[in-house]
Symmetry: C2
Subunit: 312 residues, 2 copies
C-alpha cells in the first residue's frame, strides 16, 4: 500500500497507539513514527519494540513536522495535550484522537488548535482488557468499526485521508455526529462497562461468599464481567466523567427495566420473565448475522475469544 | 475407564444431557443410555445422533431399570417429573439433577422419591448459549466444576460413585450445602445473567439508537451481554423464580453499589470511580491465576472463546 502520511506522531503509547504503530508499519502506510508518553518506561518500551523511530519527553517535541498527530491519551487529559502541542503543529497537519467520548474531546481540544490544522476526531471500537505499549498488535482493528466525527466544515480531503489510513489498518469507517456517537456508545459500551464494574464490586464485597468461591466458580457468567471490569481505570473514569449525560440517561432506563424484572421475580411473574428473555435472545441472532460475532458455542477454554468489549 | 453405571436414564435431552451422553460414551463410563424428552423432535435427534440406545415418550418408561437417573429439565418441572418417575425407580438407583438452583429442586423432588433410592443433587457449572440435543459436545465439562449438594445422611458410596462419573467426564467435583450453593451462584451467575438480559432489553427499547446501530457497534462490551442474554428463556425464568431470595438479595446490593457509582458520575467524583475500577481489576487477576480463564487478550475474532457463562 502507498504511504498515506509521511510522518505520524503518536501522543500516548498505550494499547491503541501501539497497535496502530504495528498496523501502520506492517502495511507500509506511513513513513516514520514519533512518539510521546508521560512515563519513561513506556517510551523505552516503544523504542525497544520498534513502535517509534524516535520518542520524546514532551508532546510538543513529538509533533514537530508531523503530518498526522494521534491523541491516544485518556479523554480527561486531551485538552491539556492540545494546549501544549497547538503552537508546535505543522500547517496543514491533521490532528485526530482515539477517545471513547467525542463531544467532550471536541470541546476540550478544538479551541487549542490553530486554523491551519485539520481536526478529525475518531474512535476505533476495538480493544482488549490489557493496557500499555506491550499490549498492542497489528490486527486489532481488522473488521472493527472506526468512527469519525468531523465537525461541520472540516476539509473533506483531510477526512478522506484519515479514512484511508483507518481502512488501511483493516477497519471499517463510518462518520457520525459527535452527540449521537456518545449516546450510541453509552448503550453499547459505557453503561455495560459500569454495570460489569458494579457486579464485580458487589461480589468482592460479600463476606459470606468468600473471594475464593467467587473466583473458583466464576465460569458461570461472572467471568465475562470480570474481564470487562479489568479494563484501564483511568480511561474509564474519564469516559464516565465526560459522557455523563448520556450514561446517566441510559443508566436511568436500565434501573427502570431492572426494577420491573426484580418485581416480576418477587411476585413470581414467570410470563413476564420468559417474554423478556425471549425478546433479548433475538438481538443476539442479529449480531451474529451482522458479522460482529460468530455462532460458535462459547465454552470456556479457548486462548482467544469472540469479544473485545473492553475499550470505549 | 471402567463402567461406573450399567444403565443411565437421561430425562431431558438438552445441552447438558446431550453433552453428558457424548462424554460418557466417549470415555466408556456407562453401559447403556435411555432418554426421554417431551418433544418428538428432540427424541428423534437423540437417536439420530446416537446419544441414546432407546428413547421413550414418558419419563416413567425411560427410568425402568436405570442405575442412574439424571434430571436435566428446567428447574420448574423437576417436581412433576419426580412425581411421575418415583414409583418406577429401581431399588438402589441414584437420582441426580443438573439444575442451577439446588434448594428448590431438593424441596420439589425429594418428597416423591422412595426411600430405596439415593438422591444426590448436582450442578455442573458449564454451558454455552446454545440449547437442545444438537448443541452437546463431549468436552463441555472438562476442567469445569460440578457441585454436588447431597442432603445429610445420604449414602457416601452413592455420592462417591456419582463423583467418579463426573470426574470421569473431566469435571472437578466439590460438595456444598444447598443454600450456600444458591447464594454463591446468585453472585457468580444468576444476577449477572439478569443484568445482561436487562441491558440488552434497554438497548432494544431505545428508539433513538436504532437496532442496526446497536448491533453494528456491539463490539464494545455490549456483545458479551448479548451472548449471555441469548441463553434458554425457560431455564432462566425457572432459575429466577426458584432462587428468588438469594437473587433479590444480591440485586439489592447491586443497585446500592450502582447508585453510589451513578452519584459519583453525577457529582464528578473521579477519585471514587478510579478507586472502584482499580479494585475490580484485581479480581480479574485472581481469576486468571485460579486457572478459570486465560490472560490472552480478548480481541474479538476467535471461533471459540474463554467464556461459558451462559448456564446457571
Amino acid at each position: 500500500m502507498a504511504v498515506i502520511y509521511e510522518k505520524v506522531a503518536l501522543i500516548g503509547l498505550g494499547l491503541i497507539a501501539s497497535s496502530m504503530a504495528h498496523a501502520m508499519r506492517q502495511r507500509g502506510l506511513v513513513g516514520s513514527i514519533t512518539g510521546h508518553a508521560k512515563s519513561a518506561e513506556s517510551r523505552a518500551a516503544a523504542m525497544e519494540l520498534g513502535l517509534c523511530d524516535a520518542v520524546f519527553e514532551t508532546a510538543a517535541e513529538a509533533v514537530e513536522g508531523a503530518d498526522l498527530v494521534v491523541l491516544a491519551v485518556p479523554v480527561g487529559v486531551m485538552g491539556h495535550i492540545a494546549a501544549e502541542i497547538g503552537p508546535h503543529l505543522k500547517a496543514g497537519a491533521t490532528v485526530t484522537d482515539v477517545g471513547s467520548v467525542k463531544q467532550a474531546v471536541i470541546d476540550a481540544v478544538a479551541p487549542h488548535l490553530p486554523d491551519s490544522v485539520h481536526f478529525v476526531p475518531g474512535h476505533p471500537i476495538a480493544g482488549t482488557e490489557h493496557s500499555g505499549p506491550r499490549s498492542g498488535f497489528a490486527t486489532l482493528f481488522e473488521n472493527r468499526w472506526w468512527l469519525l466525527t468531523p465537525p461541520d466544515g472540516t476539509d473533506p480531503d483531510a477526512v478522506a485521508r484519515l479514512r484511508a489510513l483507518c481502512e488501511g489498518m483493516g477497519a471499517n469507517v463510518d462518520e457520525m455526529e459527535p452527540a449521537h456517537h456518545d449516546l450510541v456508545l453509552a448503550v453499547t459500551s459505557h453503561t455495560p462497562h459500569l454495570i460489569a464494574y458494579t457486579m464485580v464490586g458487589v461480589a468482592d464485597d460479600l463476606g459470606r461468599v468468600t473471594d475464593s468461591e467467587v473466583i473458583k466458580y466464576s465460569a458461570a457468567g461472572f467471568r465475562d464481567f470480570t474481564r470487562i471490569a479489568a479494563s484501564d481505570p483511568t480511561m474509564w473514569r474519564d469516559v464516565f466523567l465526560t459522557n455523563k449525560d448520556a450514561t446517566l440517561e441510559i443508566l436511568g432506563r436500565f434501573t427502570e427495566e431492572l426494577f420491573a424484572l426484580q418485581r416480576a421475580i418477587r411476585t413470581g411473574d414467570g410470563a413476564h420473565l420468559h417474554d423478556y428473555f425471549t425478546r433479548t435472545r433475538a438481538i443476539r441472532r442479529s449480531i451474529v448475522q451482522a458479522g460482529q460475532d460468530t455462532d460458535a458455542p462459547d465454552f470456556g477454554r479457548g486462548g482467544t475469544s469472540k469479544s473485545d468489549g473492553t475499550r470505549g
